[in-house]
């Protein structure tokens, strides 16, 4: 390796992506815990803390821009920086989804839930697990692992549909539950989006390794 200092810049960038990933994982986990515990104060805190994730994204973006402007990256070096720019955008949006669940926690207040939380925490577990491994695959440049993670998105989609159908039946049965059930549908939708954005990170990993952009999960509709 000739350009040691450039390699160090890239390493630093990767470390930042790892940190940002951990921040988003923590935000999602906290949002689900707050939903389960009906912890309004924590919901508000999650909303506030999203600003830190946003700031991290801008910081990383600035570093990428500086590297492009000053280091003239080409080939896989350039792909890596472009991929990092895309990955942090996905992570930032996932942070917004966690923040969205925080808002739902605040809006639900202490009213009783229309149903026990089973599928929603499970969606979060699967999503968080996919997210952690997708960042790991990205940093290891493991296109095969990235492809495998994309396949798991179906599981989250199925749970999402299940939650939707179930809550719909609650609403039909008792229109008084409509507001609260809608909030939960919204939370489930946020988690579905998180898993979907994980697949975008995986697509970037494949792009980084192969140089070709492919859409791994094609919508079934």
């Amino acid at each position: 390796m000739i350009r040691k200092s450039f390699a160090e810049h890239i390493k630093e960038l990767e470390k930042e992506v790892t940190v940002m990933g951990e921040m988003v994982v923590a935000a999602i986990n906290r949002s689900i815990e707050a939903l389960k515990a009906r912890n309004v104060a924590e919901g508000k805190q999650i909303i506030n803390d999203d600003a830190l994730i946003n700031k991290k994204r801008w910081d990383i973006e600035e570093k990428c821009i500086n590297l492009i402007a000053t280091q003239q990256p080409v080939a896989s070096d350039l792909r890596e920086i472009v991929a990092v720019l895309c990955v942090v955008t996905e992570l930032e949006r996932m942070g917004d989804y966690a923040e969205g669940i925080g808002k739902i926690v605040v809006m639900l207040g202490t009213e009783p839930l229309v149903k026990p939380l089973v599928d929603i925490p499970q969606m979060a577990d699967i999503g968080v697990n996919m997210l952690k491994r997708s960042i790991d695959a990205f940093l290891r440049r493991d296109a095969e692992a990235a492809k495998a993670i994309c396949a798991e998105d179906d599981e989250v989609d199925l749970l999402h549909e299940q939650v939707y159908r179930e809550l719909l039946s609650y609403m039909i049965e008792d229109p008084k539950t409509i507001t609260r059930a809608t909030y939960l549908i919204w939370a489930a939708h946020n988690l579905e989006r998180i898993a979907d954005r994980v697949t975008n990170i995986c697509e970037r990993t494949i792009f980084l390794v192969t140089g070709t952009m492919t859409e791994v999960n094609v919508s079934r509709y």
Binding site: I2, A69, Q72
Partner: protein
């Protein structure tokens, strides 16, 4: 945070005869950093660099006005000791200017001129230190008697840097140090400069914009004898303050 400048020029004018080559340059160069000076040919960047160790004194009919303050002292004062100034402010040139002597004698040359060391062991230690700093010791330790001109260009340029380093300078001026080298050798020299900035203040003149962007912490852009812009390299190359700088670094003229 305002950095204490290692080199500061105040209203620096330089005339070659009647021609005003540097026009009121005000510049603060921070210590232990790499500062690049860029600009089109003839803009005065090499002239400015040569002011920092008063190399322009060697050119007839030059006149200098203003101040150049290095570590708090105005080096344009007439009582400045030029020998010790040039020891403190070393210089590396465009083409490696090794002497037609052995590697050993090339390095010993400066030590002798400056009467720095006497004992043979001390000299050897010093030469070894210099060659280690530029990453040549392993390659050359058994060939110190060979003529320096037999080395590859990149090695010659490294040797020139070592020759400066063993005089224990504070500041190293580099005038297009990579223009005679291929791109790979260029990157390796840049890596060396990165390592050296921990201990030294480096000022590099280059017409290679990419090199300035890659290898420096601060960049000054000169045009027609004026310093148009000076700032952190990241800022100059991502968001220059002057339109002239923007046009030049993006290749719209020059």
């Amino acid at each position: 945070m305002e950095l204490v400048p290692k080199i500061e020029t105040v209203g620096l004018n330089l005339y070659y005869g009647d021609f005003l080559a540097l026009k009121g340059i005000n510049m603060k160069i921070p210590g232990q950093n790499i500062t690049a000076i860029v600009g089109p040919s003839g803009c005065g960047k090499s002239t400015l660099l040569r002011c920092f160790n008063r190399m322009n004194d060697l050119i007839e009919h030059t006149k200098v006005e203003g101040k150049i303050v290095i570590d708090g002292l105005n080096i344009l004062e007439p009582d400045t000791d030029l020998i010790s100034l040039r020891k403190k402010v070393g210089m590396v040139f465009q083409r490696p200017n090794v002497f037609d002597l052995s590697i050993y004698n090339n390095l010993k040359f400066g030590l002798r001129i400056h009467r720095m060391l006497d004992g043979k062991d001390e000299i050897i230690q010093s030469i070894r230190g210099g060659l280690e700093q530029v990453g040549l010791w392993q390659e050359l330790k058994d060939k110190l008697g060979n003529n320096a001109r037999t080395l590859m260009l990149e090695q010659q340029q490294r040797l020139c840097i070592a020759r400066v380093l063993i005089l224990k300078p504070d500041i190293i001026l580099l005038d297009e140090p990579c223009s005679a080298l291929d791109p790979i050798a260029t990157l390796r020299i840049e890596e060396l400069l990165q390592a050296l900035k921990q201990e030294y203040t480096l000022v590099i003149v280059t017409h290679n914009m990419q090199q300035a962007a890659r290898a420096s912490d601060y960049t000054g852009f000169m045009y027609l004898g004026e310093l148009v812009e000076f700032g952190q390299t990241n800022q100059v190359f991502t968001n220059p303050k002057q339109e002239l700088t923007e046009n030049y670094i993006s290749g719209h003229f020059g």
